[in-house]
Symmetry: C2
Subunit: 200 residues, 2 copies
């Protein structure tokens, strides 16, 4: 955790206090572990600050992130801290009804992003966790320039964390804080599969 005085003080006309309370766009990328986990750890801080949290998961998985989801929903329901909403792509986009419709992941992803745009415009959350949101951008389902422009224009004080490998350079350019998680060593390398409680 960086401490003390920053090396460069920008000539932006802002006080330190104004500058330090600016809303952040945070990106966790790279091939290593901990991208999403660190985003959910950040959500604990937001919860403690009383900032409403919206989690949007963009890549379907049989396992999702059950542990984090149960824990954050329990915190959200605790009566302390902040409320927590948790949405999963596809059937988990609870605001959409589509009986019998065929699965269309690209359409699902776009519907998720449309919802996030509406929530940003309404200043609904203090922290958005857009989990594995780099992938629908990488796959061309969601327009990176639209994401960057929307986030740059978001009103109020809304922090956004985006996770996933292969973050687009435009997204990295727009972000305030970017961390790359690099794999140094992983149990998969020696034939160990993921385990409950560690991987999900």
């Amino acid at each position: 955790m960086p401490q003390g005085n920053p090396e460069n003080v920008p000539e932006d006309g802002l006080t330190t206090r104004q500058r330090r309370t600016q809303p952040l766009l945070i990106v966790h990328t790279g091939p290593g572990k901990g991208k999403s986990t660190a985003a959910f750890g950040l959500a604990l801080r937001a919860w403690n600050q009383g900032w409403p949290i919206g989690v949007f998961q963009f890549v379907k998985s049989a396992k999702w992130r059950i542990g984090e989801e149960k824990a954050l929903l329990a915190l959200g329901a605790s009566g302390e801290g902040a409320p927590v909403d948790w949405f999963k792509m596809g059937e988990g986009w609870s605001w959409i009804q589509r009986p019998g419709r065929e699965a269309d992941h690209a359409a699902d992803a776009r519907e998720g992003w449309d919802r996030i745009k509406a929530d940003l415009a309404a200043e609904k959350y203090g922290l958005y966790v857009l989990d594995e949101f780099t992938y629908p951008m990488k796959w061309g389902w969601i327009d990176v320039d639209d994401v960057v422009a929307t986030l740059a224009a978001r009103p109020g004080r809304q922090h956004v964390v985006i996770t996933g490998r292969d973050a687009d350079p435009r997204l990295i350019g727009a972000a305030d804080l970017v961390t790359e998680m690099t794999k140094v060593k992983h149990p998969m390398d020696r034939g160990q599969k993921g385990q409950r409680g560690i991987e999900w």
Copy 2:
């Protein structure tokens, strides 16, 4: 999150199930952000699995990790999931009474490690978060070889996460999973100081 089949299946005589439930030593190191945050995110999964969690913070800070502490203690007290113990170095080592004693960080760190060794021997926790534990090793207060040998010999199924920059090569060698967090971009670079809810 890695999915599917591992590339190499070791000839260790273990079944996949045995192999995947082996206790892990996890290290989050590197100069970037997210090392501790990801460890606390991992604690959410452990909590959901009902694994008792012991957090030991090894570097004193005015801010500690207030958000994570409040959230994890709230989860621990929720009656669901697992219990959570949270210890801070020095005055936070609640099992030690020392009225009027002068501060001695090296002694504090060693007392913390002695407690962890006793807890490991007693199989007290399912997940140990040893936050910023690389530093007392780096500063020579705690013997790396002792840490590596103790962890290698720990009984039962106890997962251990160690965070902090400059992890010793011996620790990395002993670890099952190592992630290096690399700073790509940080608000401090443009003169922005840390802010509440994001940094702590």
